[in-house]
Amino acid sequence: MPTRHLIIGGGTAGMNAMRTIREEEREPSEITLVSAERPYSRMVLPYYLDRSIAESHVYTATAANLARWKVKTLIGRKATALDVKANACTLDDGSRVEYDDCLIATGSSAVRAPVPGSDGRAVHSFWTLEEARGVLASVTPGRHVVMVGAGFISFTILNSILALGAQLTVIELAPRILPRMIDATGAELVEGWLKAHGVTVRTNVKLARIEDAKDRKRLKFSSGPDLTADVVIMATGIKTNLDWIKGSGVGVKRGVTVDERLRSNVPNVYAAGDIAEGRDLISGEAAVHAIEPTAQEHGRVAGANMAGKDVRYRGSLIINIVEVCHLDAASFGAWDDARAEAISGLKKERSAYRKLLFTGERLTGAIIIGRSSDIWTTNDVGMLKGLVQSGQPLGRYKEHLRRNPFDVKTVFIAAKTTSTLLPETVLGRPSKAPGDSPVAV
């Protein structure tokens, strides 16, 4: 009898796992996908929001693709309980799906600041496609949009809101913007850039309530003046969709705890993506990253192991990039490690910043800011990722960077980083093109 794989969640992790199973398996297996939504990519929703792509572009698989890949789909269904002794999953319509192994990839959801009025009219989250549709319908030229939260999610849609001709105010509880992505110096640079491009930024403000004000909304704060808005977008964080799995016997801390094969404490139950708590490449500690690249790699490694391969995962590297009005800001690894030795360089007139964090001779974290049109920035973005990912000792090149923190490229080349990286693959083999997969055809 063919192996029965159950994939719970049709996001990035689930899709990558299914594709890898089909790439790696020796004998045909049965794949069943349970997904509350039709599979789409959250990464491209900002481009749907600014209308540069059609809604059809966001989907990562059509029904025909999935059929061609012989995936049995249960779209619109949610898993409600996992019975790890009976190897069965209960769905929200009461049905049960039996499996030989399963992947938990139920991701995360947006959470709103717990203030009165946060669930009211014209108050949106921006996380799912459905939520994106809501924002799309409400943001029109001249309207005043207030974004609550100045983190990664908020920054992914800043450009779109401006492109739609709306006025934008960003408010943040922390003393600075992007508090979990860049340091204070970087934040000051980005904030200055935002203000120069017509965005109002208010940091260090605590939202107290959101009230109706005729057709508009009024935001009240613990201190400081009120704001009046036409649309409020809550970009106040996400939480893992763990509740349904609690009590099942699958080990859970901040996420589902997984080993180097993405396996939970239950040997035939895997977890991947935002819901998984796996190894961080730099610290070696278990962490929930909740970023797209981690979900991709988790999904691929889990899929390979489910297909019978023995693939061990080195761990995930935190990488983030946002672009606002053609200014790029990116960070890698342990960019906020207070124990690391920091080397930095700032060129205010070019809006360029580099911060390099060393643990001994190794680069273990980095922040980079620069103009998108500046090819130097784009090259350094990748090379900093490479230096952190390779983990190689930089020896005397560290001193070179101390004297010129912008000369990343010369150091990358001379340290023979390419030699270190070339043999590295996630699955122990060359990657296949996506055209042969259910992800995109």
Binding site: N320, G382, A414, K416, S419, V441
Partner: protein
């Protein structure tokens, strides 16, 4: 597969590769739009070209959330313009710094070996860039390593 074999000892720093590359890739004669980059060493007395190795992992390709990066007939990782949305994930996933982004088209671009007829290799007058059926490698690391000693020392002296 055929790859770009780089011999930095032969590079004169003439930048013809960058000019040719930018023209074929973006339609502009503009080194800042070239996906092959020439770096100077030893006070601009020696030079080395650097570009995508077409690595086995294809970090750009596996990172793309919409499957917009594929493998073309020449075996190169290639961006499909009609699928790329410009999210820049490939630019931070590529650990070699060889993914690029065009602010005018709002799309990523990279070395696609010009589909099997690379303009840089044609343009190079000294065969520092050749298109050959060899295993891809770190072509310029040793060259740079020898010369970086000089740079580091010079900076030390200038301090």
């Amino acid at each position: 597969m055929k790859v770009l074999k780089l011999t930095p000892e032969r590079c004169t720093g003439c930048l013809r590769c960058e000019i040719a590359c930018s023209y074929v890739q973006t339609g502009a004669y503009q080194p800042a739009k070239s996906v092959i980059r020439v770096s100077p060493f030893e006070g601009h007395t020696s030079y080395a070209p650097y570009t995508c190795t077409q690595c086995a992992e294809g970090w750009c390709m596996t990172a793309c959330p919409v499957g917009a990066i594929t493998i073309n007939a020449a075996g190169a990782k290639d961006v499909l313009d009609d699928k790329c949305v410009g999210c820049k994930l490939c630019t931070i996933a590529c650990p070699y710094g060889t993914m690029f982004y065009d602010t005018s088209t709002r799309k990523a671009f990279k070395c696609n070996l010009c589909g099997g007829d690379p303009a840089c290799a044609h343009a190079c007058p000294t065969a520092a860039i050749e298109y050959e059926d060899v295993v891809t490698a770190d072509w310029i690391g040793d060259f740079a390593r020898e010369r970086m000693g000089y740079v580091a020392l010079a900076l030390e002296g200038a301090r």
